[in-house]
Every structure is written in C-alpha cells, then in structure tokens.
C-alpha cells in the first residue's frame, strides 16, 4: 500500500509538473545566437565588444535615439527625453524627460538624477570605456526631477550623437549601480523593453519582457541570447529550427547558402566596418613616405573584394568608412599599380625589396584577408612577415607598439570625427597616456580634425574633414582595404517591426513592437 501511495504521489507530481510546464511553453521566446564564446559585460559603459552591443541595445535607452532600423544622425528622435532645446551658441542644452519611465526589476522611476549620474559615469575614465566622447562636457545638472541641463566647453560635431542609445549614451539606474556594485557588470539595470533575467556562463543570457516599458509592454516574452562560437553548430541549430535569429558571417558563400535555406532571411545592414592596414611611420623602412606609397600601390582592393564576396564587401573609398557623415566618398586613394610600387621602392633605395613585420591575429576572417595582402605585396618585392598570435594577445601587443603593420577593422559612430580622432589624431597614438588606436603615429591632420570637431558651419566642417582625409592619405598612414556590412540571419516568424537599414548596436534591435509568430 505504501509503495502504491509513493507511486501515486510521484505520478501526481509528474502530472502537475507537466501542467505547470504548459504555460511556459506558450510563452513567446525568441532564441538568438551570438558568434562568441561568452558575455563580456552587460554594463553598457564598460564594454565595447561586438558580442555585447546587440543585447545591450535591447535593454537600455538613451536621452534620444536613432529611429530603429536607421543609423543616420538625421533620424534622431525622442527617447527618454521627450523634447530638448539648446542655447543659440549650442553650448547649453536642456533635456525634458518623459514621465513614468520605469527601470527594470523594481528600481523605480527614472528621474534626472539617474541621467546626471549616468552621463557623469560615462564621462569618467574610471567607470567608462567611452569617456573620451564626453570630454567637451563641462557640467551636467538636474534642474528638477524631469529636466537635465548639459553644458559644453566647446562645440562638438553632434551633441545628440553622443546622447543616443549607443555606448556612453545609455542611461543606467543610479540605485542599481550603487546597490549591485561589481555585479552590475552582468546584472545591469536599464529602462529598455527587455530586462536581465538570468546568465549562465559560456551559455546564455536570458532576458524577460519589461512589462512597464514606457512605449508599451513588449510582444515577445523572453529572449534567450546564446553564445555559440562555432560557426558550424550555430548554422546547424538555425537549420534545425532551434534559433530564430543569429549572428552571421560576412562571407559570400555563407550568404548564398543561407538565402537558399527555406523560411530564412539574410539581414545585411550598416554601419560599415572598415578594414585598414596601418603603417607605423616611425619605424624603418616605413619612415620613408615612398615606401609607404609603394605599399599602397601594391595593394589591389578589387581583388580583396572579389575574394571576400561582393554582397557583403565593398572596396574602401577613403580612410573613413563609406557613408559616414564627413566621409570623402571620392578620396584620392593610391590606385593599384605594381610597377609604380617597385619604382618607388627603388627610388627609396630598396631595389631588392623590403621586409615588414606584422603581428597578426589568428582570427580566420582577419588572417585570410592579410594573406591576400601578403601575396599582393610580394608581387612588388615587399615581404610581409606574420607573427600569428591569438586574438587577445594581438590586441595587447599592437597597443604596445610592437607591430610595423597593423590590420584593424572597426565601425564607429557614423560621423568622421570619431574614426579620424581614434585612428589618426596624435593624442590617440599607441604608447602614450591618452592612447586609443592610432597605430601609425600620424598627427599631420590634428589641426583639421580638431577644427572640424568644433566647427559650427556644416559645410566648413565637411571641408575640414575632407582636407584631413587628403593629408592622411597623402602621407599613407594607412591603406584602407574594404568595408563590410553587418550580417545576421532570421526566421520568417520573427518580425522586427521596422525596416532594418542599419543598427549602431551591430545587431538587429528587438523592440516592444517586434513579434514572433
């Protein structure tokens, strides 16, 4: 009898378990896969890696936002701030906040105090990776619970640009940052349509719908954001229907294959990422401009594009990615001309050719491009030697100024200023205290870059950026190769709810209006 009772009890528990499981299954769960091994951080101010950007974009808001699907600063619209005004000299800005914006998980209503805290945090190098974007800010104050005033020391290209839902512009909860301490890294609290629910190391982050989202409750209940670093198993999981949205590959064959897969849409969108070979102008023999010109003439961009595939790669037009505000779309890049390259080398006194050293990441997508470059340079008598290291080592060593030649691929806020400042301003030179990613040690266009940043006349600003690009190209600080777009794939049942042309978070935004059929 006793045994029977236990068995009956077990059966009851099992049935109850099944019943309880049913409503969970009816929930609309969006399954996403990222091509990375693990989360870096969810704290928006402290991570700039691609794998974190997309998911952070679903959890946070800025004072303003670029309309979902666009990356054009012309499409900036209200987000947390419902309206704003600026003084005639554009140095004092007032933002009027929306009422009733609530943070995730009971952290209450967002007020100007959170905005002030957040922007100060983003401007502080001790707590932010993006402090340099906020250098021009002199003061941020809360005038009342729903009004924030921001004062600038000098004019900057786009005030609204640094306050969008992107990087340092994301607004975090002051209470949560203070209460969670170090844990805020992985349990960040924002105001966006989706809130942190769970994290399993090396596996997945789960987000839950933020029912009190100020634009309305999201129509998707849960998002499971998985980390699947293996391209093959990500594709397999997508094919078997276990994923609705995934990080793709900027690779022609992959795009073609996915387009053949039933019920699948390949998403190709901006911003463009530009790969460039930076040449260290302080190291021999690259200190001779003729040698650098020879390198530029020996590189065949068209061939690289052909190698990588024309649907996701485009030949570079300048040293700033195509389509950014201020890019000189017809910049005077050195054309492919091997004979001229050889002649220039001979003039510089290197008739028998030269050898250059490059510390190179083992990441296949980057290494394969450089192997093509290596073969092209060989034709002109330039012997490019690789020291292949793993990706974190690569990043550390190139910042220690150890490589003559650095191949680097990056997308930035689509205004020429950020790209030019971080890669070509002398203040950003690697090895200095204010270093960012200037690997070439160039500084000949500092005056133009600085003047363009504070210019108030858009035409003059564009002219300055154009001149900066001309100077830097003439000095061959880098040889831009090709730009690639962002590539993801989604199932037909996921409707993003907007037309995807671009996304600053480098992944499709999932908004309150996105649905899963």
């Amino acid at each position: 009898m006793r045994r029977f009772t236990i068995a009956a009890g077990a059966a009851a528990v099992a049935i109850a378990g099944l019943c309880a499981a049913t409503p969970v299954a009816a929930q609309k769960t969006l399954n996403v896969a990222m091509g990375a091994a693990d989360l870096g951080a969810l704290d928006p101010h402290r991570t700039a890696t691609t794998q974190d950007k997309a998911i952070i974009g679903w959890m946070f808001n800025g004072l303003v936002r670029i309309r979902p699907g666009s990356i054009s600063p012309a499409d900036i619209e209200p987000d947390i701030a419902e309206r704003w005004e600026s003084s005639p000299d554009q140095l004092t800005w007032k933002f009027f906040l929306r009422k009733g914006v609530r943070f995730h998980g009971g952290y209450g209503e967002l007020t100007s105090d959170d905005v002030v805290f957040s922007l100060k945090r983003a401007a502080d190098p001790k707590t932010s990776a993006f402090s340099s974007d906020f250098r021009a800010i002199s003061d941020i104050t809360a005038l009342d619970p729903y009004t924030v005033e921001i004062k600038f020391r000098e004019h900057i290209p786009s005030v609204l640009g640094i306050l969008t839902n992107y990087q340092g512009g994301y607004i975090v909860s002051r209470k949560a940052v203070e209460a969670l301490g170090d844990e805020f890294r992985s349990k960040a609290v924002g105001t966006g349509p989706f809130a942190y629910a769970d994290y399993q190391r090396n596996q997945a982050v789960t987000l839950a719908a933020h029912k009190e989202y100020f634009r309305g409750a999201p129509r998707i209940d849960r998002i499971v954001y998985r980390y699947i670093p293996s391209d093959a198993s990500r594709d397999l999981a997508f094919t078997s229907g276990e994923l609705d949205l995934m990080f793709g590959r900027a690779d022609q064959k992959w795009v073609e294959r996915m387009r053949q897969t039933p019920d699948t849409q390949v998403l190709i969108f901006g911003p463009g990422e530009l790969g460039a070979v930076h040449l260290n102008i302080t190291k021999k023999p690259l200190d001779d401009v003729r040698v650098r010109q020879a390198v530029a003439h020996a590189i065949n961009r068209a061939q690289i594009v052909k190698f990588r595939g024309e649907s996701v790669f485009q030949a570079a037009v300048s040293i700033v990615p195509e389509g950014y505000l201020g890019t000189d779309e017809k910049a005077p890049l050195q054309p492919y001309d091997v004979a001229k390259a050889k002649k220039l080398l001979a003039e510089a006194g290197y008739k028998d050719g030269i050898t250059l050293k490059a510390i190179q990441t083992s990441q296949p997508s980057m290494l394969s491009v450089m192997e093509v470059v290596q073969a092209q340079l060989k034709q002109a008598g330039i012997n490019l030697q690789f020291e292949v290291v793993d990706h974190p080592t690569f990043h550390a060593q190139i910042r220690k100024d150890l490589s003559d030649v650095v191949y680097y691929s990056a997308a930035r806020f689509p205004i020429a200023d950020q790209h030019l400042t971080q890669f070509y301003h002398s203040r950003s030179t690697v090895g200095t205290p204010t270093a960012v990613t200037n690997f070439s040690h160039c500084g000949m266009a500092d005056a133009e870059i600085d003047a363009a940043r504070v210019a108030t006349d858009p035409e003059k600003q564009k002219a300055l950026w154009k001149e900066a690009q001309r100077k830097l190209i003439e000095a061959v600080c880098s040889v831009p190769l090709a730009g690639n777009t962002q590539v993801w794939a989604k199932r037909g049942k996921l409707d993003l709810g907007y037309d995807l042309k671009g996304s600053l978070s480098l992944g499709p935004l999932i908004t309150e209006a996105s649905t899963l059929r």
């Binding site: 700039a48 994290y199 596996q203 293996s230 198993s233 080592t393 910042r399 990613t437």
Partner: protein, 313 residues
C-alpha cells in the same frame, strides 16, 4: 589499504605545489590584457589603467603570488575577474554536465570497447578482427569536431531525434538524456576505439600464456577460458588506459562541448583563457590538478581490486 592511499596522496602534494606555481606564472606570462578584453577596443589608456587597478593587476607579482597561494591553502579559489562570482560556484554550476558527459562516454567506451577487443583478439587476422581494427583506427583518427558535426547532421537535422543545442536544464531528466545522447556518443566513440585496441593487444598477450594453454588442455570451455581466466589478467592495461583517459576526457571534452553547445569545464577554461580571466584560469588549473591526481589515485586503487598483488608492493 589506508596506508597505500595515504602514501599516494603524500606523493601528490609536492606535485600539486609545483603545478600551482607554474600555473600562476604561466597565466601571467601569456601576453594579453584582461582590462582590454573587458573594456573593448576604443577604451583610453586611462580607463584601462583604472580597470587594471580595480582587478588588482597593478600589485607587484610577488604580492599577487602570495595572495594566490594563501587563498588556495585556505581552500578559497577566489572570484572570477569577469563575473565577480566565486570560482567554486562557477565550477559547481557546470560540473554536473562535465561529470555526466564523462561518465556516459566512459560507460560507452567500456561496454562496447571490451567485447569488441575480445572479439578482435579471438578472431586474430580474421575478417572480424580486420573490421574491428579498421573501425577503431577510424575512431582514433577522426577529429572530435568532425564526428560531432556529422552526428548533428544525421541525427539532429535529418532525423530530428536530438536537439543541436544540448544544454537542457538540470531539472528535466528526459530532455537531459536527449541532450546527453549525441555528445556522449561522440566522446564515447574515441573511448571505444582506445579500449578496443588496448583490450585486443592485451588479450592477445594473455591468450598465448602457458596457463591458458593448460586450461584449454584441461578441457575448460573456450568461453570460460576467455571470460574468466584471460580477461581478468588482460584488464590491467585497460584500466590504466581508461584511468589516464578519464583525465584527458575531462579536459578534451571542450571540442564536444563547443560543437554541441553544452556547458562544461572544458568550455569554462577555454573561455577564461580567451578573456584572460586570470583568477578563473588559476582556479580551474588547481581544480584540474586535483582531478588528475584523483583519477590516478582511483586507477591505482582499481589495480588493487583486479590484482591483489599490487596492494602488497
């Protein structure tokens, strides 16, 4: 028996200490910067320096070493630099997955490997022997990630019997078994190949011994000769291989874990390496060292069970 165990443990201690020191140094010699990994590529030097200070990386290396050793000796492995969670908690999260995968692979290896090895040895140079040897050769030379993708293509994509993402929650037994099937089979295949080969060669050696001939001459049935008389003696090398391989299995399951999207120790250590999570790496190395020592100890003890003479030496 207890004396035997204690002696083995005592020998393991200096090994562990040396391993700890080497681990500590290696982790720091590897170029790379955790602050850079955390903050991303547009961070300024100032921000990086602040992050390094927060992570304790600005302290002199000897201070870091002393802190590390003190922590290990008190049984505390510290916290992950990246998630700020205790390392022990991180490991305990994934350990059940690693253990179930390893045990399942081991069971598959032994259950299929030993009979196949015996079959092969008994039909020496016959077709069954050639077929088994060929199969085990394929099993050994096939990279785990290739067999994994093939298994997925057939059983998850074509037949749809098993999921591609094999990371079912711990509290759902049936889903969990389904998740375990393909990865354990993938890992088990290599194990089968190893065990088959070792069993075969060891069995061949034993079968040519005098006492086997005597048993046969006395008219003991062939099956009894093999299963009772020969197998027990042939098992010692098999146990050695299984024991050694157990440690390898725990570490090498990383490819299987990655392709099948399973949590596990292997994935944890590769992730920590990629992100330069120094404290996590150290902690994991310590745990690995313990596991290997434990595996070896268990192997030694199993010898004792199979062959009582071992205990006396």
């Amino acid at each position: 028996m207890i004396g035997f165990v204690l002696k083995r443990l005592l020998v393991a201690l200096p090994t562990l200490l040396a391993v700890l020191t080497i681990v500590f140094l290696f982790v720091r010699v590897v170029p790379g910067d955790p602050a850079l990994v955390i903050l991303g590529d547009s961070a300024t030097q100032e921000a990086l320096a602040a992050m390094r200070q927060q992570l304790g990386l600005d302290k002199p290396i000897l201070v870091q070493y002393a802190e590390f050793m003190a922590m290990v000796l008190t049984g505390d492995l510290g916290r992950s630099m990246l998630t700020s969670r205790p390392i022990v908690a991180e490991v305990l999260d994934v350990l059940p997955y690693t253990i179930e995968l390893t045990i399942a692979a081991l069971v598959i290896g032994v259950v299929f490997g030993i009979p196949l090895g015996i079959l092969s040895a008994r039909n020496r140079n016959g077709w069954a022997d050639y077929a088994t040897r060929l199969l085990s050769l394929i099993g050994l030379s096939f990279p785990a990630f290739v067999s994994a993708v093939l298994l997925l293509l057939v059983f998850a994509i074509q037949l749809r019997w098993f999921p591609v993402i094999s990371s079912a929650a711990l509290d759902d037994p049936s889903a969990r078994l389904r998740s375990l099937a393909l990865p354990s089979f993938n890992l088990g295949l290599i194990m089968v190949a190893y065990v088959t080969r070792v069993t075969r060669s060891s069995m061949l050696g034993v079968l040519s011994e005098d006492y086997i001939r005597t048993a046969r001459a006395k008219g003991v049935p062939a099956r009894l000769v093999v299963w009772r008389h020969a197998l027990r003696n042939a098992l010692i090398p098999v146990v050695t291989v299984v024991g050694l391989y157990l440690g390898v299995l725990i570490g090498n399951s990383v490819l299987t874990e990655i392709v099948f999207n399973r949590p596990g120790l292997g994935k944890l250590i590769v992730g920590a390496l990629n992100q330069r999570d120094y404290t996590m790496l150290q902690g994991l190395m310590v745990i690995y060292a313990f596991i290997i020592v434990l595996c070896n100890l268990m192997t030694d003890l199993t010898y004792g069970l199979i062959d009582p003479r071992v205990k006396r030496t």
